[in-house]
């Protein structure tokens, strides 16, 4: 069984982003980029399925500019067997990404597709579920545990009230939450090996997908500012301030 893992190139989670002065978007010049953390967890899970003998091949796929090759190489170094870049210089929105991935799915016929639950730039949290709808597959979102046996996937989901377990028939879609696993680091030999692993490049047009944007971002503004308040010297002073100044406790 093949496992397909869609990965997104995003700003590194540790970067404090700046908004362009003209409000047209986020300034990404000379900013450190990385594999979306949830996608790294997805790759790790796929590699573990392979190590456990459940998966036969792990394929990483990314939709984006040619520089996404860097992130795909990282995935190859982390244990993916091969990679596919669907190259487009206009930013593909979640629905378009889901359609593109469906075309890849139709070609590759994987048994499981593991997404991240959310990309940390757009914070959409949509693509996995949209892909599941387009392919008619069941979905186990926000997974903190995945076990695959007898043609089924049991997924433990992190939900608002606690945990929920669902059983899905295969093929299935899983989206990762933070506690699914702890991704490994790529070793130097594996980074070297990754350079020789196959990385195919295609385009939305070749896959026959219309990736036209459906919504426009009119502007991006900074959030309402919040400035540091004061330091209090003691618990007594804190309680006094909360009671008599902020008036948030009785």
């Amino acid at each position: 069984m093949k496992v397909l893992v869609p990965v997104k190139r995003v700003v590194d989670a540790n970067v404090k982003v700046r908004i362009k002065p003209d409000g047209s978007g986020i300034d990404l010049t000379n900013v450190k980029m990385a594999v979306n953390p949830f996608c790294e967890i997805a790759i790790e899970e796929a590699v573990r399925l392979q190590e456990a003998g459940v998966a036969t091949e792990v394929i990483a796929v990314s939709v984006g500019g040619s520089n996404c090759q860097e992130q795909l190489r990282t995935c190859l170094a982390l244990g993916a067997d091969r990679a596919i870049l669907v190259q487009t210089e206009t930013e593909a929105q979640p629905l378009a990404v889901a359609k593109i991935l469906k075309a890849v799915y139709d070609r590759e016929q994987p048994g499981i597709v593991i997404f991240g639950k959310q990309s940390i730039d757009g914070d959409n949290g949509q693509t996995g579920q949209m892909f599941a709808a387009l392919t008619g597959l069941p979905q186990g979102t926000f997974a903190s545990n995945l076990s695959v046996t007898d043609g089924k996937a049991e997924v433990v989901r992190e939900v608002d009230g606690g945990l929920q377990t669902v059983m899905l028939s295969l093929p299935a879609v899983v989206t990762t939450d933070l506690r699914l696993n702890e991704p490994r680091y790529a070793s130097l030999p594996n980074i070297m090996k990754a350079r020789r692993k196959p990385l195919d490049v295609t385009t939305p047009e070749e896959l026959g997908v219309d990736a036209t944007p459906r919504f426009e971002v009119l502007s991006v503004e900074p959030p309402p500012g919040r400035s540091a308040g004061i330091k209090v010297e003691s618990v007594e002073e804190l309680v006094d301030k909360l009671r008599n100044e902020a008036k948030v406790i009785e």
């Binding site: 949290g125 709808a133 945990l163 929920q164 028939s169 991006v220 330091k231 618990v235």
Partner: protein, 309 residues
């Protein structure tokens, strides 16, 4: 113009976040109908009908909807939502699960996690962990939107007398099954609805030490939350995580104890009205957003705080 709001509930109680979603629906304008999809969920439908401003409650009561599995919910919402221009749900783990699936079946984009309505097709939503607020215009005929509860003041619960009608057929995709829930039981107010939240981080050192926070929470009627580090370390369960990828809270008072203030944590709490930070490191970034900062060892300060309240 009309809006369909998918109710958030557990088959017996209408969850308060639905009232925040209804507020967003009210800002969009037009008739607002509510879909209650569940099993043996008549009480929920009646509660929804009693909310002011609701025109009609559509109730899809069938075993296939008992656990609101996305595979079954999505075709139902597509069916029931056929004549609506807007379909809204809360940006909770339930809404996030089925709504993108609905959007894809309708071949429209989804606008996630809105905190403002500029016009019926233009919305405000946070991106990059709340470091930017994007104004987004949908060009699709139908708008599928998830709503951040803390972005909208709830509509008053009551004063309505909408009709309740059965709606929708039973869609059972037969590809997924509910196995079990392990839901945290707590006497405390729900995190996202609490007036006061006190959260602990890695500085708490153990799950046992969270008892210190509970002592304070008892006195303030507060909910208890946590940073990701505290959840990852196994101190407390996942449903307590506040942040970009956990719960978003905006209480009157947020008390961060032994939490450094990483951007991902701030994303979940920086809209709180008053923020207090207790941390032994005076350089901790949490102090940059705290209205009142106390540089102290939490193991001394928290018991003292409990006594002082």
């Amino acid at each position: 113009m009309s809006v369909l709001v998918v109710a958030e509930h557990d088959n017996s109680v209408l969850r308060p976040v639905t009232l925040n979603v209804l507020a967003a629906a009210g800002e969009i304008g037009g008739d607002v109908d509510v879909l209650v999809a569940g099993h043996d969920c008549g009480d929920v439908a009646r509660s929804a009908a009693a909310v002011g401003g609701v025109s009609r409650v559509l109730c899809a009561d069938a075993p296939a909807y008992a656990h609101q599995l996305a595979e079954n919910m999505a075709p139902l919402i597509v069916e029931v939502g056929a004549d609506y221009e807007h379909i809204l749900a809360a940006h909770t783990t339930t809404g996030k699960n089925f709504l993108p699936r609905v959007a894809a079946l309708l071949d429209v984009a989804m606008i996630s996690d809105i905190i403002g309505v500029d016009s019926p097709d233009t919305f405000k939503r946070p991106i990059y962990a709340g470091n930017g607020i994007a104004t987004v215009k949908s060009n699709d005929a139908k708008k599928v939107v998830s709503v951040r509860g803390t972005g909208f003041d709830p509509v008053p619960d009551g004063g309505g007398s909408a009709s309740v009608e059965a709606a929708g057929s039973e869609h059972d995709a037969g590809i997924s099954d509910f196995v079990r829930d392990e839901l945290a039981k707590s006497e405390r107010p729900e995190l996202t609805a609490a007036r006061v939240v006190i959260s602990g981080g890695r500085g708490m050192q153990s799950g046992d030490n969270f008892k210190l926070l509970e002592g304070v929470a008892d006195k303030l009627g507060a909910a208890v939350g946590a940073s990701r580090a505290a959840v990852d370390a196994g101190f407390v369960p996942n449903d307590m995580q506040v942040g970009q990828t956990g719960k978003i809270v905006a209480p009157e008072l947020y008390v961060a104890v032994g939490i450094s203030g990483a951007i991902q944590h701030l994303a979940g709490m920086k809209d709180s009205k008053v923020i207090v930070a207790i941390n032994k490191d005076e350089e901790a970034p949490i102090f940059q957003v705290a209205d009142y900062g106390l540089v102290a060892d939490l193991f001394a300060a928290v018991p003292e705080l409990e006594d002082a309240l």
